[in-house]
Symmetry: none
């Protein structure tokens, strides 16, 4: 990425507005000769492509399949290799847990231990989520504080939870307690650096207390922790680009990521319609960067549901006139990565990218598809470069050098 000091120097605060519509997992692979985007009826997105300039974007590096963290960080202009959001934090954000600087979170499983303390089932027979909630509630009630550190359990699905430690002198530089295999005892956490020594003392006391509470709760009579994480120190969009950003998303993880980057987050969006409605309501309120996130394309892709993904694209398309009607100076439509239904997961394929602004060279692209974007005026580029392009097109960047 460009040096941060340079970005801070070149960006200027203006009234122009940028709307970045992220259709999660947008790119696809052909099924019966057509990708999801090619199969979808989406006259409004195609019209937008015709009015703008298109390209294909590599989220991280050609061949690299990004998780949602790196996919989004790159899109917001951060080097995804430099700024990494650790797994525990991503999991916490996904449960809607706010993580503050200095706090440590970890992913956890409820597990079944033998009387000798050996792991018999790493997932405690996949206990029902309801039971998980009860256990977390009891643990929160009975533990509260350990060695002056506040601990909180947040239930996830089945046997999964997140635990958060809040207090002085914590550190995420400790090893997992999850042996990753049955037939072994949970591992004793070890410090990975000197500054993690207190954390290990806290953790050992914490684990003793937890196992005391769970003693008679078989099959969930033990816990395994992994991925201790603190939030990374990431400069905000306002620091780097002088933006006043608003995030409009339905899923907790994307809202959490947005908060990490200093965005304000709209509350209470559930559906695609809600997302666009919230844009309409907030458009005139003094924000100059709107990050809209559509999750369902990625979910359908992950399910391998080609038709379902096509339908979501078609639904998004119906809201494009509303978006255009607000007349933001810059509209960008893209994804954070590809999620081809064929692969039932994220993939490394470059992502279609569309930018409309009064100050771009219109290209010949007339349809918003992978194939058409390949011939677009922006060519193939790294996702990290998208942010300076958006800022430039909104006339928010000064000249570099005399």
């Amino acid at each position: 990425m460009l040096p941060e000091v340079l970005l801070k120097e070149l960006t200027v605060k203006t009234d122009s507005k940028i709307v970045l519509l992220v259709i999660d997992g947008l790119g696809g692979l052909p099924h019966k000769g057509k990708t999801e985007l090619e199969a979808a009826f989406k006259p409004n997105l195609d019209a937008l492509a015709k009015e703008g300039i298109c390209g294909l974007m590599d989220p991280v590096y050609p061949g690299i399949t990004p998780g949602s963290g790196p996919g989004h960080l790159a899109l917001f202009g951060y080097d995804p290799l430099k700024y990494q959001v650790k797994r525990g934090v991503i999991e916490a954000l996904g449960l809607g847990v706010e993580v503050l600087p200095g706090e440590v979170v970890a992913r956890g499983n409820f597990a079944t231990l033998s009387e000798e303390g050996v792991v018999l089932d790493r997932r405690a027979g996949r206990i029902p989520s309801e039971r998980n909630r009860e256990l977390c509630e009891e643990l929160n009630l009975r533990l509260g504080e350990v060695e002056g550190v506040r601990v909180r359990f947040f239930p996830g699905k089945e046997h999964r939870f997140v635990v958060k430690f809040s207090g002085q002198g914590l550190s995420d530089e400790v090893t997992d307690t999850d042996p990753q295999k049955e037939g072994y005892r949970p591992l004793d956490p070890q410090p990975l650096s000197e500054k993690a020594e207190r954390m290990v003392v806290v953790l050992r006391a914490f684990l003793r207390m937890v196992h005391e509470v769970l003693r008679d709760k078989r099959p969930a009579n033990g816990i395994l922790l992994r991925g201790f994480s603190e939030i990374p120190c990431i400069p905000s969009l306002s620091e780097l680009y002088k933006l006043t950003p608003l995030c409009i998303a339905t899923y907790p993880m994307y809202k959490g990521l947005a908060r990490l980057l200093g965005m304000e987050v709209v509350k209470g969006c559930e559906s695609i319609g809600d997302v666009f409605e919230a844009l309409k309501v907030n458009f005139a309120k003094g924000y100059d960067f709107f990050y809209l996130h559509i999750k369902a394309t990625d979910s359908r892709g992950e399910d391998g549901d080609f038709e379902g993904k096509v339908k979501v694209i078609e639904e998004v398309d119906r809201f494009v006139p509303l978006l255009k009607g607000l007349s933001p100076e810059v509209i960008v439509v893209t994804g954070d990565h590809s999620t081809p239904a064929l692969l039932k997961g994220h993939s490394w394929h470059p992502v279609p990218f569309l930018l409309r602004s009064p100050y771009e060279r219109i290209d010949d692209v007339e349809r918003f598809t992978e194939r058409d974007c390949l011939r677009g005026g922006l060519g193939r580029f790294r996702a990290q470069e998208a942010m300076t392009l958006m800022l430039a097109s909104a006339l928010k960047l000064k000249k570099f050098g005399a």
Copy 2:
């Protein structure tokens, strides 16, 4: 950029000649559906595009609008983020002032001060350039030397000038004296590092003497200085690439930049015709790299004069047969950045690039325009990569590795 040590190792001195024709601010934006290049009648440039290979070049980074300094440095293969020519030096070069290593230059304003020494008008009522010349002359006559340091004033337009300090132990690490606002006294220069302490002593004595001379010259009874700069230490084209380069330009700033990079500079070119005539005269003289600079495209772009820019392109086109007639092994036509008339200034848009050599893969491009270059065989690339391409096409680069 490639490591300099590698460039030095790979380049070989040969008889082949490269002509780099820089049409300043070449790229544009559509007006009534056509960019300046698309609107221009330029059969010779189009023929050259047909005979060569084309592409689109990002001067610094996608979205970043370069000044002339970074635009040119990149084109000559230098990392524009690593090598930066400071504002004061650019200003000095623009006035045709030569700056040697160890010398310090600054931009200055004549200003009006009150009897108490407070700035009443930062621009001294924009005194006529003629008055500026008289004042500089008188200052040069009466000051000459300060604390063993030679000082010289060079008049610019209206109230603007450049002052140059030549002597031992100088430094540009001092703060501005310009308070940037009226109602304040000129600032006392402060050292930004230990090695600037002598410079501050010189400056204070210098300022006392200047204000003594100007005492009764109201409205120009004071000066304000900013942007103290030394020339950066940049390896020359001959050091890096073993080239014997010649610069043919009409504007002082580009000649100055070329001198910074160790180029010889042709004297006395005023018009586009002069530039090509000088190329003809000097072509057989043992140079192997000719940097031709056409300024008027950028000037017309800056003026917002679409038709004017089109006409300049058409004029340049008429000299292309002369250029081709000299049969250099490599001809490159490009710009240092885009200057769309629509934006009345430099812009971030990629720049059309055309390379003709007997050793390139001819592509299908038949017209030299932004849109056609997008489909060219060179694709989209960073300006910094242009130099190795030119050298390679002239068979001036050895194989890397065994």
